[in-house]
């Protein structure tokens, strides 16, 4: 099982992803903005990040840029999330490995976790 970081300013969204992945056996940490997300990233060995695009303080594109520029963090797969179509965010988020459009289904979250956390498939 893996460790997942969910960065989203909407409590409800972060809580929902946490509940889904916890049921799947993963450990989930949450942050309400990019800055706090980066702080957590340096404290744990994360296997996957769910990252919201529009947030206060530091938005998703900025946090992704920092991750991409970091020699160790850049290995962590990032799933970008937005209520807008992927085309709207693609230009600024070239480093993400997957995109999840809000609102999402439970299965979408589980499938993405299975795709990027190898142990999920066992």
């Amino acid at each position: 099982m893996g460790i997942v970081l969910v960065v989203d300013d909407e409590y409800g969204v972060a809580d929902l992803i946490e509940a889904i992945l916890t049921d799947e056996g993963h450990r989930v940490l949450k942050a309400p903005n990019g800055r706090q997300g980066l702080e957590l990233l340096t404290k744990e060995q994360f296997d996957l990040v769910f990252l919201d695009y529009m947030m206060p303080v530091m938005d998703g594109s900025m946090m992704l840029r920092v991750i991409e520029g970091h020699p160790e963090l850049k290995r962590i797969p990032v799933v970008m999330m937005s209520s807008m179509p992927e085309d709207n965010v693609a230009e600024r988020c070239s480093g993400h490995v997957a995109f999840m459009r809000k609102p999402f289904s439970i299965n979408e979250v589980i499938k993405l976790a299975m795709r990027f956390i190898p142990s999920s498939t066992e």
Binding site: D9, E10, Y11, G12, V13, P32, N33, Y53, M54, M55, P56, V57, D59, S83, M84, P85, N88, V89, K102, P103
Partner: protein, 501 residues
């Protein structure tokens, strides 16, 4: 010498149809405004509409939610609105959730966050949805008041117009009501089985505004407000020049002009009353058939569709059909159950101004009355008075029909009080039974500042239109119960006089 008059405050237009008119041009830049109303009245739609209209003009805006509603769900709902433009998100319009910041840092921290976001995103409009959450999380009343005060400081310092959306009730005076620059209240009420929405600007510092309630609808284009016609026209759009209305215009029926003492007074209003089937619409069509290129006409009707009008014109008034084809006369039809009173008034005014209409025929005043059903009994009189005053000022000669319930007999009952303020000229059309025959009689009850023929005249509606007998003898015979005289006269009497061409 420089102008030392009243300073002109910079405005931020909402872009919401009708609202900027009510506000005298828009909200004031850097102001703090509350938009309040019960759930379902369209506060969030209005807030978003303001944001999208703002960014459509190369500006930037931020929408901050303090509610449990997910942005994704809100976007889904907004995506069907015509004002929604996904390409503006997130570069020009950002959606943020402030609940986490509010929980973690309190009201002070939240305001600090707003200031930074507004500054860094160079936003000139900020919408905060869910003031109730901030109030709930405030440690005490003092802290909440300071929060509102701090928001005002952000608005002024950043030159950012701030809108707070909340479900507060207007009958409860909250401290924030006294602190903000303006309050716009949305309400929803039942009128019989139908729901009617109204918007009221309760407070608006630094500017005049149209007071009272104004109807609105939420359409696929967003919120559309219809300023109350009598408030909008409380002062006519231009001063009465006088003189213009001293002349006479033809009614379209030569004999009627004679009865009127030389035609209809120019720029006057004429009410044609009568029960269904007496030929009121035909009289109106004859009136429009006298339109010319320099005196264009408009038929504003509710009950007869353009096709039926066309067919009717072809039958009784072919000249009108040509005028419609050549756009000298426009036919505007609206289903009588379709819209709000002020929406009808707005459409009528726009159509008159657009084509500089000089001859207006409104077929079915009762539809206005039905549309006003939920607005209080005195509303329709004020509405029509304002509308007709404006028509006079615009130099429009207006003829409109009003159906009266009594089919026969001498009594006349109308459902609209104080007719004298609504019509300067009154024409009555009625049925009279005499023997086994049904006869139609027309009479003039009033003409503005003028003498007129006070006698009854018999008339017929035929394939040639409306034919009024030149004298009152046949009518007199009918009223005396000796219609045979009228019949004899009809067979061998003087030539009929019909429409003026």
């Amino acid at each position: 010498m420089t102008d030392v008059g009243v300073a002109v405050l910079e405005r931020v237009q909402s872009g919401v149809p009708g609202l900027d008119v009510i506000l005298g041009g828009g909200f004031l830049k850097g102001g703090l405004y509350i938009i309040q109303g019960p759930p379902g009245t369209g506060k969030t739609t209005l807030g978003n509409q303001i944001c999208f209209n703002h960014v459509a003009h190369a500006n930037r805006a931020v929408f901050v939610t303090l509610l449990a509603e997910y942005h994704a769900r809100m976007m889904q709902h907004l995506s069907v609105m015509k004002f929604f433009d996904a390409s503006k998100i997130p570069d020009q319009l950002s959606y943020l959730n402030g609940l986490a910041a509010l929980h973690e840092t309190g009201l002070r921290g939240f305001v600090s966050l707003l200031r930074k976001e507004v500054t860094s995103r160079r936003a000139s409009v900020l919408v905060i949805d869910g003031l109730v959450t901030a109030r709930r999380l405030a440690p005490d009343e003092q802290a909440f008041n300071e929060f509102i005060h701090d928001l005002q400081a952000v608005a002024i310092a950043a030159g950012c117009t701030v809108f707070i959306l909340t479900s507060s009730r207007s009958d409860v005076i909250e401290p924030e009501h006294t602190m903000v620059d303006g309050i716009v209240e949305l309400a929803d009420e039942l009128a019989g089985w139908a729901a009617e929405s109204s918007l009221q600007v309760v407070k608006f510092r630094g500017s005049g505004f149209l007071r009272g309630r104004h109807a609105y609808k939420i359409t696929s284009g967003g919120v559309v407000v219809h300023p109350r016609i009598e408030a909008l026209l409380s002062r006519p759009s231009r001063p009465d020049q006088g003189g213009d209305g001293d002349g006479r215009v033809v009614s379209g029926l030569e004999q009627l002009d004679t009865m009127l003492g030389g035609g209809l007074p120019e720029a006057s209003t004429t009410m044609v009353m009568g029960p269904s089937g007496t030929g009121k619409t035909t009289l109106g069509l004859e009136f429009l058939a006298a339109c010319t290129d320099t005196t264009p006409g408009l038929l504003f009707g509710f009950y007869e569709t353009p096709k039926r009008i066309d067919a009717k014109a072809a039958g009784v008034c072919p000249a009108l059909r040509n005028l419609i084809d050549s756009a000298v006369v426009e036919v505007l039809w609206q289903p009588p159950t379709d819209d709000l009173l002020d929406a009808y008034g707005e459409r009528l005014l726009q159509a008159v101004k657009r084509r500089k209409v000089k001859r207006l025929f409104i077929d079915g005043l009762g539809a206005f009355q039905s549309a006003a059903a939920g607005s209080g009994s005195d509303r329709i009189g004020m509405f029509l008075t304002a509308l007709m005053n404006e028509m006079r000022i615009l130099g429009v000669t207006t003829v409109y029909t009003l159906e009266v319930p009594d089919i026969m007999g001498p009594s006349i009952r109308t459902s609209i009080g104080d007719l004298s303020s609504l019509a300067e000229n009154l024409i009555l059309m009625r049925f009279v039974e005499a023997g086994s025959q049904l006869h139609r009689l027309i009479s003039i009850l009033k003409v503005r500042d003028s003498q007129f023929d006070q006698s009854l005249h018999e008339y017929e509606t035929s394939s040639q239109g409306l034919i009024i007998r030149p004298n009152s003898e046949s009518a007199q015979a009918i009223m005396l119960g000796v219609p045979i005289v009228a019949q004899r006269e009809r067979n061998s009497g003087p030539a009929r006089t019909g429409r003026r061409r």
